[in-house]
Amino acid sequence: MAAPVRSTADQPTSSVQNLTIGKALNLGLRAAMEADDKVLVLGEDVGKLGGVFRITDGLQKDFGEQRVLDTPLAESGIIGTAVGLAVRGFRPVCEIQFEGFIFPGFDQISSQLAKLHYRTQGGIKVPVVIRVPYGGGIGAVEHHSESPESLFAHIAGLKVVSCANPVDAYWMIQQAIRCDDPVLFFEPKRLYHSGALKAPVDTAAEPDPLFASRTVRQGSTATLVAYGPSVKVCLDAATAAAEDDLSLEVIDLRTLSPLDLEPVFESVRRTGRLITVSEAPSESSITSEIAARVQQECFYSLESPVLRVTGFDTPYPPSKLEEHYLPDLDRVLHAVDRALAW
């Protein structure tokens, strides 16, 4: 295998860079490939083009066509061969172009990727990462705006995470690649290139654990729990609510399977009120699971029922209607009002 040629043209002198989520993912992938030559990137258009979102930009140029593979156009093939490569000892990172195209690969994900370790009583590890750009708000056609993460969180053997900011994007992708279990890595596509979310990323820092949620804003009146693209919505809502002297706590779940709910329980015991926010349909979802677990753990602390602000239980609508479908600041604050008025 050819040794990777490291691009040195734009090497920063400091370990801190101001990055978007997209660029942070790109650098995170690069760091992972430099750290371990068993890491492969494979997917449609990930090579010369750098992916339709440019997340893999420049990787094929620097690491070669045997480590960054432009694959034939078939998602079951991408994931099925990644399983075989992992059995052989590689650490494949698959890109699914849009979440709505993952379903041809669903069989390989649920039947092989999720179960091989269990089937062999630990004899086979399948450290495959599947990167999935997800969520709406980009004015796209059908199958380009969905939030199918709950389907994967429901499958034993898979781990499911989602990043919401550049620092997490940089570290979580590397941690997911190092993880010996298969990880579905959901990326908030409409925030990829958001300048407003640009943040300093210290590539020499010590990252938080991958499978841990995090309180991203302290508060005392009610708790908002979100992940991925909805974290920003909740933070904006908390800022707006502060003008009305409402103190909202915001928790970024980060990991959807396994769920790390201790910080949520601790928060709800203080605030007594919980609103969960997600773009996914609400039925049988991550938000349902949180509601069930919170009522089990925090029954006597709750001052109101757990409320959910989510997409509707419909297929994703035509994009001219998506602003109705997607949870926004007003819908979140409306739920806060309802919880407080209970």
């Binding site: 492969l40 099925g80 269990y118």
Partner: protein, 402 residues
């Protein structure tokens, strides 16, 4: 060895099986057509009469198979068939939940399996007990799957034998990925090159995963041999329900060679698979082999073939039996005497008795096995579930029987 008369079949009046025989005219025609097809296209080195046929192309691949080696292949097939019949019997006795018989496919499996080297990797479907045997997997380790004590028992790496895959066609993509890895690691390109073989059936050729495996392997020049055992029936559906043209001819559309071999001819299966693996080792893969054979028993022990095919079909295929032709050849050429055949039969009976004894004494797994190895890294959620369930069970131990 067991004679055709001893093969398992439904007893008359033993339930709906014997009274439900109603194959459609289409099924009958398709099934009977499958008894005659394949002739001119078939690579054959040992015909059903036990006569050795010369092949300028393939003879060099079996030039080392002398009488002793042929006796070995014969013994392999007899042992595997005997164990397979024992599997059926143990299912009937309730010792196995289900059994997936390989009866009739011994030559395809032993011939191709014996073509492999230790450094090669085989990806089976779920009927490849014969291939497992050639890879050194203890037949006992196959039983857990069918008794319900585990999902896969053997060390895949030590044996070069991937776990059984039950979802039809999935393993074809997994094998292709593995073979791509062999190539990426630079293990392909000379006589010592590595190769992968993947087993699937005629029904699987309709699966998208098999198509995608063909596409991927062709695009990446993956060293993978696609070994399709066309046993004529995907449960009740004849091969003509899967394809208009002979399956091996599909390879042409993907840009690699395809070949049809007599799947009941152990020598031809060995030669053709050695050739195909050799192509792969040298970087000329992939290759598709269609082993033209016949599933002489049911799809599984839950199946009733009398509903969809005539016994006439089986009678015709009995004349092409994979074991009989080797026995006849050995006997006719003086390659083996009666003492040898008797000894093999005794060995096979002992092999089966040992298997049976083991199976009857297989313990149920402990309940905590449910939670074990779901993840490679610890899962606090599962640890909590396990604690809760074990505490629940402990309550019965303290308070009385469950």
């Amino acid at each position: 060895m067991s004679s055709p008369e001893q093969w398992t079949r439904p007893e008359p009046g033993a339930g709906p099986a014997a009274t439900a025989a109603e194959p459609t005219p289409e099924q009958v025609i398709a099934g009977l057509r499958a008894t005659t097809e394949g002739g001119a296209e078939l690579t054959q080195l040992l015909n059903p009469e036990g006569e050795r046929l010369a092949s300028a192309h393939f003879d060099p691949y079996v030039s080392d198979i002398d009488a002793e080696a042929l006796r070995g292949l014969y013994r392999d097939m007899v042992l595997v068939r005997r164990a397979d019949r024992e599997g059926n019997a143990m299912q009937r006795q309730g010792q196995l939940g289900i059994w997936v018989p390989l009866l009739g496919q011994e030559a395809a499996q032993i011939g191709s399996g014996r073509a492999l080297r230790p450094t090669d990797m085989a990806f089976p479907s779920y009927r490849e007990h014969g291939v497992a045997y050639t890879r050194g997997v203890d037949f006992k380790e196959l039983l857990g799957i069918f008794r319900g004590t585990d999902h896969s028992g053997w060390d895949f790496q030590a044996h070069g034998f991937h776990p059984y895959t039950i979802v039809i066609g999935n393993q074809v993509l997994n094998a292709t990925g593995y073979a791509m890895g062999q190539k990426f690691e630079g293990k392909v390109g000379d006589d010592d090159g590595e190769a992968t073989i993947v087993y699937f059936g005629d029904g699987a050729t309709s699966q998208g995963d098999v198509h995608e495996g063909f596409v991927w392997s062709a695009v990446y020049d993956a060293p993978v041999v696609f070994f399709c055992q066309n046993n004529q029936w995907a449960i009740s559906e004849p091969t003509e329900r899967q394809s208009r043209l002979p399956l091996y001819q599909r390879a042409r559309g993907y840009g690699f060679p395809g070949i049809r071999v007599d799947g009941n001819d152990v020598l031809a299966c060995l030669a053709v698979t050695r050739w195909a693996l050799d192509e792969c080792r040298h970087g000329n893969g992939p290759v598709l082999i269609e082993a033209f054979t016949y599933r002489m028993d049911a799809h599984t022990t839950t199946d009733d073939p009398t509903r969809y095919r005539l016994s006439d079909e089986l009678e015709v295929w009995k004349h092409k039996d994979p074991i009989e032709r080797v026995r006849v050849h050995l006997a006719r050429t003086g390659g083996a005497d009666q003492e040898f055949f008797d000894q093999v039969q005794a060995d096979a009976d002992a092999f089966a008795a040992d298997l049976r004894d083991f199976c009857f004494n297989m313990p149920d797994p402990p309940p905590e096995r449910i939670f074990a190895n779901v993840y490679a890294e610890p899962s606090p959620v599962l640890e909590a579930q396990q604690r809760e369930h074990l505490a629940y069970l402990a309550g019965f131990a303290e308070g009385g029987e469950r």
